[in-house]
Every structure is written in C-alpha cells, then in structure tokens.
Symmetry: C2
Amino acid sequence: MDEELYKLAKTIIRSAKAKGLTIATAESCTGGWIAKYLTDIPGSSSVYKGSIVAYANEVKENLLGVSKETMIEHGAVSEQTAAEMVKNCAQAFSVDIAISVTGIAGPGGGTAEKPVGLVYMGLYIGGEIKTEEFQFEDNGRDGVRRSAVHSGLQQIISSMGQIHP
Amino acid sequence: MDEELYKLAKTIIRSAKAKGLTIATAESCTGGWIAKYLTDIPGSSSVYKGSIVAYANEVKENLLGVSKETMIEHGAVSEQTAAEMVKNCAQAFSVDIAISVTGIAGPGGGTAEKPVGLVYMGLYIGGEIKTEEFQFEDNGRDGVRRSAVHSGLQQIISSMGQIHP
C-alpha cells in the first residue's frame, strides 16, 4: 500500500461525499490503478462509480467511443483521444467528474515525438472538458505508471475544487 | 509491487501469448486491482484487452448488463450476478477468457448470510461459463481484496489450461 496515493484517494472520496459529487475513470496506461486506489477507501461506492480500463486500442473505440478517425489521425496517446475517452466515460457512468489517462508507460512504444513518460489526461468537470499533457521522467514502467496515478488523483482533487453543485 | 501477484500476472500474459488467447476482466470488489497487475507486464496489451470496473451496483446493470431481476433476487454479491457479469464482459471485449469478481471486502456490508470475505467469481472459458464461491479470511479490507486478486489470477491460469484453441 502506497501511503501517499492512499491519502490522495481518501481526500477524493471524503470531498466527493461532502460535495455530493460522483466520479468515474477511463484508464489506458494506468490500467486500473487509479480505480484500485479509489476503491481502497471503505464506502467509496457511494461516490465512485467505476472505470473502463481500455487497455487495447480497439477497446478505446468499442467501449469508449473514440472515433477511428481520431485514432488514425492523432493516435491512442493524444490530447484528442484523452478528450473523447473522458467525454464518453462521463456519459457511460453519468457522473459529475471523470478523468481519462492515456500514455506511454514503456519500456517499449516510445518514439522521438512521443517518448516514454508522455501522458495525456482528459478531465470532465460538470459538463466541461479539459486536457492536460504530462512528460514524466522515464524511471521505468512502474515509475511512469505511478507518476500518472499520482497526477491523476491530484487532477481529480483540483477538478472537484472547480465545481459547485 | 507485490512479487507474488506480479509473477502470476507474468505467467498469465506469457501463456496467453503462447496460446494466442485474449483476456478481459469485470471487477467489483477488487476494483481494478487485477487489471493493474495484468497491465504491469510490458507488452500485455496484445492479449489483455481491459476491464470494466463496475463498482457501483447500477454500473453492473448499465455497463455489464446484469438484470435488475438478478440484482433484486440474488443481490450484487451472488453466483448469478458473477455469471451475468462475466458473460457480458466476454461479449463486450470479444475475448477467449474472462473473469468477474464480486464480493464483500468490508469493513462494512457483511451479514450473517453474506459475511465479509465472501467472493463470487465468474469464469468465461471459450464460451462456457462457470462460477466459484470463496470465503476468504476477514483480515481487513486490503487483505480480503488481495486474496480475491490472488485467487482471480490463479483462476485465469487454470482457465487457460482448460482451453485448446
């Protein structure tokens, strides 16, 4: 159990309960790790609805409605894919806040243009969609994924601060 | 990183590649933890398609097609729900092998009839559906969840042993 991630998850579940907000996630490179931390918290099911872990690219299309055009033109690791993932995730789960994460965890798959550690997140905050780009240090697959989980949890916290239901 | 779980996940990805099998998961009480371990393995995306983390009960109905009748008659933690979860998971991801996990991780939610540590798993093995009941020791929420992840990974390995594509 990673105490730092656990504390962030605890803050999210407590704040969401206090504000009456619901949350869902759509995870590619983090592979369910954000969901794992949020569900570590007892009683999380009243605010955290679940996740679509779209690890394979066709799942991003079939279950998260990312368009084939976006996948071909911009790739699975792109701002556009993150935006479509989070939009459809929020709709599928009918939540107030959603986050999507797509990136290159390594060790393979990196290019000069899209190196290992590049991660895009999509944020759905009460109907608005934003995206964020991160370039994490390539300190191994586990390290990149943990950095993405850490930032993802922080993004959820800051998103909740922007919503006043 | 839990070395024992990592080794099981590595065995799964290696065997699935060798046999040309694809895998998906539908997780309730494990909350994405099985997905997290399978995606810890580099190159897992060629065989592991993803997960639907159906943490809230309405998600089991809306995204995993568990019938309202089943939920009312047998409850979210039941053999019947596990079977419906895995059937629809396998269809949604179009995979050879799927597993569903639904149980009571605690600390709350347990009853005399369905105590903390009770977990049902559904297994989809090349078109056949089986269910398994587990009563894990109530050694805390984290402990129950880890036991479920451990047994889930073992169930995937034994399922792969039963299929000859």
